[in-house]
């Protein structure tokens, strides 16, 4: 039996960059072990497995190592691929292990809803600095490093500037241990000093789940957008743009809008485009 895998990149900045994902449609007959084996063979950070439901789709995401409950860039890639195949235009419910998410596809853009955020913190600056291998003075204490989740818990740490962010060269074993100790999926480091005008923050994602740096992380950007609004560093309703992936040569832009108020965030929406690069067949 062969499986067709659509290879796409989500959140590209211009036509370059973006975060690669595999998308397997018609995954009805596949069990979890088979999905895991396919994801390992595909080899990109996440591969999505899509089944149709009456109101939308059931989607499961697998890294080469394990299943994850939700994947932002995998969602954008999935619905971007469906759109290129003429199979998506409108609003759908995407059923995931992290709960149902609303996804809207319109004119090549994909917008996904995420869960209202949770905040869990603070975490000591020294501990984060040690894991990231940088000087503690390069991490700001306000807002304190803390866990934020709109579906996947990530520890968000604000560094002082682009120089500090771009210079991070972490110990991946330490990242893995940190992820396990904090029940999180790693560290999302960010600075409000951006390279591109009009962008809100510049980010790097050190994923303990993948063991590598992600070029574009939709769920973490939803979390960061929530954190910035909660801290008064951004406004509800404002379109926030996050630049990510430059450090790994895959420039990406992720957009997010928060609804509600600073004290009570009621909605998190993340949007982007996806480009289809290739169609692979796996035996």
């Amino acid at each position: 039996m062969t499986t067709t895998v659509y290879m796409a990149r989500a959140f590209p900045r211009g036509e370059a960059g973006g975060n690669p994902a595999g998308v397997v449609m018609d995954a009805e007959g596949l069990d979890a072990a088979t999905m895991q084996a396919i994801a390992r063979e595909v080899g990109v950070s996440e591969t999505a497995f899509v089944q149709s439901t009456p109101d939308g789709h059931r989607v499961r995401f697998f890294t080469p190592r394990t299943e994850v409950a939700l994947c932002g860039h995998g969602t954008i890639a999935t619905y971007g691929v469906l759109a290129t195949q003429g199979l998506a235009d409108g609003t759908y419910t995407m059923h995931t292990p992290a709960g149902p998410q609303s996804v809207t596809v319109s004119e090549g853009w994909v917008q996904m809803s995420q869960n209202p955020p949770l905040f869990a913190g603070p975490l000591p600056v020294d501990r984060i600095a040690s894991v990231l291998g940088i000087d503690p003075s390069d991490i700001l204490a306000e807002p304190a490093p803390q866990g934020v989740s709109t579906g996947l818990l990530k520890i968000h740490a604000r560094v002082v500037d682009r120089r500090a962010l771009d210079g991070i060269d972490p110990d991946w074993d330490a990242i893995a241990r940190f992820g396990e100790a904090t029940s999180s999926t790693g560290i999302f480091a960010y600075t409000l000093e951006t390279a591109e005008p009009g962008h809100t923050a510049r980010c790097r994602n050190f994923s303990s789940a993948v063991g590598a740096e992600d070029p574009a992380t939709g769920t973490a950007c939803g979390g960061l957008a929530s954190l910035l609004v909660r801290e008064g560093l951004a406004q509800p309703g404002e379109e926030l743009r996050f630049e990510q992936g430059d450090a790994v040569g895959r420039p990406s832009t992720i957009r997010a809008v928060i609804s509600g108020s600073r004290g009570r965030i009621t909605g998190v929406r993340v949007s982007g485009r996806a480009v289809l690069d290739a169609v692979r067949t796996i035996a």
């Binding site: 869960n115 209202p116 949770l118 905040f119 869990a120 913190g121 029940s183 999180s184």
Partner: protein, 266 residues
């Protein structure tokens, strides 16, 4: 006629309830089940297999074992008789809650209200369709928490909000401490994702505070009905579950009767 009670779990709370049931003229011990049956005191009626619960003719089964037991057996036990769930945090697992709510068509599923202030007001607002939002804040000394979330409680030196978000995730990180929040999530019918939870820790704090805020629907003029309730309970240093909690649970068990099918908070 005495109400026959089966008890699942023979830990501290299970043993306490067993003694109370045996002493009570209104109750009779139908059985005790424990994962390690050899730990059950000699002379008590032992149920070997939960699948055989009906053979002991219970009127009420009280689960005080482990959330996993609730998850696996709640639905089938509700086919036998009324069931009282010992740990409302078990219902933070969406499948367990759905199975429990779906299975109480013949018998009642009772949930102990624990330390939730204003349960009556919550249910009144639900019945009148007036409960639009709910928030619950718990304030505790850090050493009274059993917590597996990302924050290092030993590093906390001042009043700190360590969690702000939906009840559901916190129930996973601090299952022994947030039963009250879970009762609000269920009783409000807003659910584990829409009731907002805040957990505050204060080193050497001598109290357990529970503050509940209930909101009505926003009116056209922007004003909103709001009800704020606060419960202050002096805490024994280091205690997680004290005698007062056991007594409260026993009183809930006594109330768990005659309400018919459905979910009831007692």
């Amino acid at each position: 006629m005495a109400r026959r009670v089966g008890i699942i779990g023979f830990g501290h709370l299970g043993q306490f309830l067993t003694e109370r049931v045996q002493e009570s003229p209104d109750h009779e011990l139908a059985f005790v089940w424990n994962r390690s049956p050899e730990k059950i005191r000699e002379g008590l009626p032992v149920l070997e297999d939960l699948a055989d619960a009906a053979s002991m003719t219970p009127d009420l089964i009280v689960e005080v074992a482990h959330p996993v037991v609730a998850k696996r057996h709640l639905a089938s036990l509700l086919g036998v008789c009324d069931v009282m769930a010992g740990s409302p945090t078990a219902f933070a697992d969406a499948d367990t809650e759905a199975a429990g709510r779906a299975a109480c068509t013949e018998h009642g599923l009772y949930v102990a209200k624990g330390a939730l202030p204003g349960l009556h007001d919550v249910r009144e607002m639900v019945a009148n369709g007036k409960l639009h939002g709910a928030r619950i804040r718990m304030t505790k000394p850090p050493h009274s928490l059993r917590y597996s979330g990302p924050v290092d409680l030993d590093a906390i030196t001042e009043e700190t909000m360590i969690y702000d978000g939906p009840v559901r995730q916190l129930a996973g990180w601090a299952p022994n401490n947030v039963n009250t929040m879970c009762v609000l999530a269920m009783a409000s019918e807003l659910g584990f994702d829409d009731v907002k939870a805040e957990l505050v820790v204060i080193p050497d704090f001598g109290f357990h505070l529970v503050e509940v805020e209930l909101c009505g629907p926003p009116r056209a003029d922007g004003k909103q009905f709001k009800l704020e309730l606060k419960r202050t309970n002096p805490a024994a240093i280091g205690a997680v579950t004290g005698t007062a909690t056991y007594q409260s649970f026993w009183r809930s068990l006594q109330r768990a009767e005659g309400m018919g099918p459905g979910v009831h908070f007692v």
